[in-house]
């Protein structure tokens, strides 16, 4: 999955100033006054066959961005141009009814928690066959065959022994394989993977990561890979975007960002990752305090409160734009 996206000039997904605000004091009679700016003017492109990573701490808006791309959440503003090369490019944000349902054949999501992402009362067959059923694809016999084939593909063999078991009879790793099978069963071309390995044990994790890589290469799938773990992003994504409080603060080739982070937040994030080597000493993390609130933030740089290099200019200016600093590297910082 590390191959560079070369040929197609048009990206599979082009998110343009994507914004999602959640009303904070919601009520039927009350008028909404405050908004949580979960995702705030985020733009990025995902090429065909590419795996693009969204990295950030909890609450930075990465999961909401993922859900926006599969329309589990409706955007407040912005466009998501989806261009699969077959049909006309469409704005996912404006789809509804029948066209939304047919878009759902092409984009799927894998969820973080393998224990919660499957209905405990439905068998593995029911779970994996659900997309086929709601999209009215195939009859009962084809569905059983298709599901068995998928289970075999994700390494649950022999498939027949898994079809009529319940999620609770499977281990976490096996369940996450079922989740992958469910996402792939209708042959999508784009998958949002929301921390698919973060709840798994290390010895199981690599297997799932490999599986997702292999399948993407084999079936030509693009990923939006959401993770809080920079090390995982390094192995799964050719390019990453680092998010902080609803904004992308840095974006570029994964290896380059990891070796030469330019935004002070990315630098802090990297230096906070523990190193599995008892004799190595990490430099101290420079930033202080916790993540500030996303509710009605001031217009200045979102990172200002915690930034070690911020000055009066940062305080009095708007949030810095995401600027190209050469070599495809985009950084949103006045000081970088």
């Amino acid at each position: 999955m590390t191959q560079a996206p070369d040929a197609p000039s048009r990206p599979l997904i082009h998110a343009i100033s994507l914004t999602k605000r959640f009303p904070v004091s919601s009520g039927w009679f009350r008028r909404d006054r405050s908004f949580a700016h979960a995702v705030d003017g985020v733009s990025f492109q995902i090429q065909r066959g590419e795996s693009f990573g969204l990295v950030g701490e909890s609450g930075c808006g990465k999961t909401t961005t993922g859900k926006l791309l599969v329309r589990l959440v409706d955007p407040t503003e912005g466009k998501i141009v989806f261009d699969d090369g077959e049909d006309e490019p469409t704005d996912i944000a404006s789809l509804s009814g029948r066209s939304l349902k047919s878009f759902r054949r092409k984009a799927q999501m894998i969820f973080q928690d393998p224990y919660e992402s499957m209905n405990p009362r439905r068998t593995i067959f029911d779970t994996v066959a659900e997309p086929l059923k709601v999209q009215k694809i195939g009859g009962a016999i084809e569905r059983v065959e298709r599901v068995s084939e998928m289970l075999g593909m994700v390494g649950l063999t022999p498939p027949a022994t898994f079809l009529f078991r319940y999620p609770h009879e499977l281990s976490g790793g096996q369940r996450q394989r079922v989740a992958v099978a469910r996402a792939l069963v209708i042959e999508p071309i784009f998958i949002v993977a929301d921390e698919p390995t973060s709840m798994l044990d290390v010895s199981i994790r690599t297997g799932i990561m490999r599986l997702m890589e292999d399948l993407a290469a084999r079936l030509g799938i693009s990923y939006l890979y959401i993770t809080h773990d920079l090390a995982v992003a390094r192995y799964m994504c050719s390019r990453i975007a680092v998010m902080y409080l609803g904004k992308i603060v840095e974006q570029g080739e994964t290896e380059e960002i990891l070796h030469n982070p330019k935004h002070p937040y990315t630098q802090a994030l990297l230096s906070a990752v523990p190193i599995p080597d008892p004799s190595a000493a990490r430099p101290p993390v420079k930033i202080e305090g916790g993540v500030s609130t996303p509710i009605d933030p001031p217009p200045r740089c979102r990172f200002y409160d915690r930034c070690p290099v911020a000055d009066a200019f940062c305080r009095d200016s708007e949030h810095p734009p995401l600027e190209d600093k050469g070599g495809g590297r985009m950084v949103a910082c006045y000081k970088a």
Partner: protein, 316 residues
């Protein structure tokens, strides 16, 4: 094992697999249920009354003479004094109007069952749908349904029933429907909604939406099935509530029922025997004991079902 061979006759084998799974989970639940003991006691009491109810028409047809034993218009001609104490011919004696108490008791059991189960069914059907829909859609739908629930909870049911009896006359069937609607849109709906709220935020609901599943699909495939254990539990509690309400209402003489346990006590009371319990015990005890037993039996079954569906309550 090649998939082709395994699924050559897919249709029947799919059904067979589902049937096997269903029976397996039923058997597991049954084992857990048996282990709870209080549930078994409850079930035994229910079975006993079910037998009484079922035996009544048979006895009436083949053993008991209608003009003597009819629970409403019969008269024990051979007794000189009414109410007559228990005898061989009348094991539980006769009431102040000369009718056989055992026959009344058995006849009423059937209508108590009908009333309780119908009320429970209506309650739970409404409550489950209201809960699921309200939690799933939220917003205005939720607000409207929950305000309706508030009204139902605040409704003075007894007063409403008094008015309704005066206007249209309330029998068992109507009572069951009224209890079902009030409780289904009211308390039961609210409880099931709070449960549904924890279901609608599960990732599997989001997965179903991402797959293209519509509202109906998500509500009936994912939300409702996960409410059913709790619905079933509330069904048991509603039975108890319905039987008890009926007893109270007919004791007060507010229902147009032909015969019921509450009415038996009402007749005793209006004939002035209510305070002479020791002397005329057969007028009070059979009916009141039946009300208590049947109410508590459904409650016990409900409690033990609670243990079956809530692993947290299970004792290891």
């Amino acid at each position: 094992m090649s998939p082709q061979r395994t699924y050559s006759q897919t249709q029947p084998s799919l059904w067979k697999a589902r049937l096997t799974l269903a029976t397996r989970s039923l058997r597991q639940s049954w084992t857990l249920f048996l282990a709870t003991r209080i549930g078994v006691i409850g079930l035994a009491i229910i079975a006993f009354y079910a037998l009484l109810a079922a035996a009544h028409p048979i006895l009436m047809m083949f053993v008991w003479e209608e003009r003597v034993y009819d629970p409403v218009v019969g008269y024990a001609f051979e007794e000189t004094r009414q109410p007559a104490p228990p005898s061989l011919k009348h094991p539980l004696g006769t009431d102040p109007l000369g009718r056989d108490v055992l026959s009344q008791l058995m006849f009423s059991a059937r209508s108590e069952f009908m009333l309780g189960l119908l009320a429970a069914l209506v309650t739970v059907s409404i409550g489950t749908i209201v809960g699921a829909v309200s939690a799933y859609f939220g917003g205005v739908v939720d607000a409207v349904l929950m305000r309706l629930a508030d009204i139902m909870i605040m409704l003075p049911v007894i007063s409403v029933l008094v008015v309704l009896s005066a206007l249209i006359g309330v029998e068992h069937f109507e009572l069951a429907i009224i209890i079902g609607i009030v409780s289904g849109f009211g308390a039961t709906g609210v409880v099931l909604k709070s449960q549904a709220l924890s279901v609608v935020v599960k990732p599997y609901v989001e997965a179903a939406k991402t797959a293209g599943g519509g509202h109906v699909h998500v509500i009936f495939v994912h939300v409702v099935p996960n409410l059913l254990p709790l619905s079933f539990l509330y069904m048991m509690f509603t039975v108890t509530g319905a039987i008890f309400s009926e007893a109270v209402l007919s004791f007060l003489g507010l229902l147009d029922v032909r015969m019921s346990w509450g009415l038996m006590i009402h007749v005793t009371e209006s004939a002035g025997y209510l305070l002479q319990v020791t002397e005329y015990w057969w007028l009070i005890f059979p009916a009141s004991l039946s009300i208590t037993l049947l109410c508590s039996s459904f409650y016990l079954v409900g409690r033990s079902l609670d243990e079956v569906v809530n692993p947290r309550l299970r004792q290891l």
